[in-house]
């Protein structure tokens, strides 16, 4: 279980996470959604053990998140992180060196599934191709927690379908998968739980089926209506129109 207890993060005067409480349970795929700047990426970074200046507690299997837990937590940052010298194969070699849970054969299978050339240099690839390589490397780890921050960014429609297929094929037992996105429509097919965030806090959460029954609409529509209401409130009662 990944536990967030009163988690708070500030960037100067700006509050990114405002005393957030949540338990992510194994065996589920969570969609972490919300408008830009609501704290999704900060939450992902903190859970990945990359942020140190936070208040509260983040625990994975009862242990405090930190450098050591990165061995069990696979994280895909939103921006491309790779070394310039790397080819697709080099990326696999790097992951194999540093992560015991990395499955090189699985990685090669995914690269082939995406139709990428293993010998191609990453610097010569398009944004979408690099995104596919990074997704393949992250999902080839047999990690207990998989954190995907905007995994479909820059990927074409066919590629997005392929990524969704791969996610749906992952063994879920004992694993937590969290996918952060501001475009929930793209993720509704793969997630079984949703956590809607606003201003660094959890707004609505639950499993997709219960939410659909409770609100009588699709989760995408619930997302739209929820955040439209919030924007109306922030705008002082009247929603701005173009």
């Amino acid at each position: 279980m990944l536990q967030l207890e009163n988690l708070g993060v500030r960037y100067g005067n700006q509050i990114a996470l405002d005393g957030m409480w949540y338990n992510f349970l194994p065996g589920h795929i969570y969609g972490l959604v919300g408008p830009n700047g609501c704290g999704k990426s900060t939450l992902m970074k903190t859970a990945a053990g990359l942020l140190k200046n936070y208040t509260g507690t983040v625990l994975y299997e009862g242990k405090r998140i930190g450098t050591a837990t990165r061995a069990r937590v696979a994280y895909l940052p939103t921006h491309p992180v790779y070394y310039r010298y790397m080819s697709v194969e080099d990326m696999g070699a790097f992951y194999e060196d540093f992560f015991k849970d990395f499955d090189r054969n699985e990685y090669r299978r995914m690269i082939s599934f995406f139709g990428l050339d293993p010998e191609q240099k990453m610097v010569n690839m398009s944004t979408g191709m690099v995104a596919k390589v990074r997704v393949a490397a992250t999902l080839s780890r047999r990690a207990g927690v998989i954190l995907l921050d905007e995994p479909l960014n820059g990927i074409d429609l066919i590629g997005q379908d392929q990524v969704r297929q791969i996610i749906l094929s992952l063994e879920l037992e004992g694993r937590i998968i969290i996918i952060a996105s501001h475009m929930f429509d793209q993720l509704e097919a793969v997630c079984d739980h949703v956590v809607m965030m606003n201003a660094g806090k959890v707004l609505i959460h639950g499993d997709l089926q219960s939410l659909r029954e409770q609100y009588g609409m699709s989760v995408s529509d619930l997302y739209r209506s929820t955040y439209a209401q919030l924007m109306q409130m922030q705008a002082g009662g009247g929603m701005r129109t173009w």
């Binding site: 450098t67 070394y83 790097f94």
Partner: protein, 261 residues
């Protein structure tokens, strides 16, 4: 550690290879100059050009290229990793080990270039023996003397060079870490890193001056001043102590504000 070093090797082996090729290339040019110098014999007009602009100039270039790798690799590697491209901080490797691996790789690269450079100079020394040009002979004389007759002194000199190199690399890395810690704005971070670089340098010199002054209490101010700069062993001890402090500062600050944050 092995994996971290392997990562550094993968990142920089091509540029290291290019540097080694440059060293060999310069050595070949020097050899060609000397062969030409021997063939023209006592012709002064040729010899002056060859000795000053050619052989000796190239020899200086050879000597200057060697420390380059030792400084540049750790700093470049660190600066890249603390930026937005640092994959290494996604791995479970602790920060102190990551920084140490960069320093070890820098020292190893420097040592490799040093050995090749000194070896080439030593070999060129044999060719210089046949040269009639006195400038060329003298330029190589000291090098050969160090390497053959004063092995221990040569080793000590190179050891001191390595400590100085590690200290300088850590001074720059520590300044970058302080700059990043002090501000979130990228231009301010660069500016602050430069300010910290000079500030730390100033503090180091002041500390060194105070310590040397205390231990030379009986001497006059002039003696103390001369002693400060002449005493290499003092300086190396200071550099070693500063390097350790800077390494701790660099590790702690990098860890507090690890990349991607």
């Amino acid at each position: 550690m092995v994996k971290l070093l392997k990562n550094e090797w993968r990142r920089y082996f091509l540029s290291l290879l290019i540097l080694l090729c440059c060293l060999v290339g310069i050595a070949i040019l020097i050899a060609l100059c000397m062969v030409f110098s021997i063939s023209v014999g006592e012709d002064e007009s040729y010899n002056e050009l060859l000795s000053n602009a050619g052989t000796v100039g190239l020899l200086s270039m050879l000597m200057m290229m060697i420390p380059f790798a030792g400084y540049v690799y750790p700093i470049l590697s660190y600066a890249t990793d603390v930026g937005k491209k640092g994959m290494i901080f996604l791995t479970p490797s602790p920060t102190w080990l990551v920084i140490l691996s960069k320093l070890i790789f820098g020292v190893a690269a420097h040592a490799a270039l040093l050995l090749v450079g000194d070896g080439l100079t030593w070999l060129l020394g044999f060719l210089a023996d046949s040269c009639t040009n006195q400038d060329v002979v003298e330029a190589f004389y000291s090098v050969r003397l160090w390497e053959t007759d004063h092995v221990l002194a040569w080793l000590l000199l190179r050891g001191q060079g390595l400590i100085f190199l590690v200290h300088t690399a850590l001074l720059i890395m520590g300044s970058i870490a302080l700059g990043r810690y002090a501000s979130n704005s990228a231009p301010a971070q660069v500016l602050l890193a430069i300010v910290f670089y000079y500030l730390i340098g100033l503090i180091e010199t002041l500390l060194q001056a105070i310590v040397v002054f205390i231990f030379n209490e009986g001497d006059g101010l002039f003696d103390w001043f001369v002693g400060l700069f002449e005493s290499t062993s003092y300086s190396i001890l200071f550099y070693l102590a500063y390097a350790i402090i800077l390494y701790i500062i660099c590790t702690v600050l990098t860890d507090k504000k690890v990349n991607l944050s």
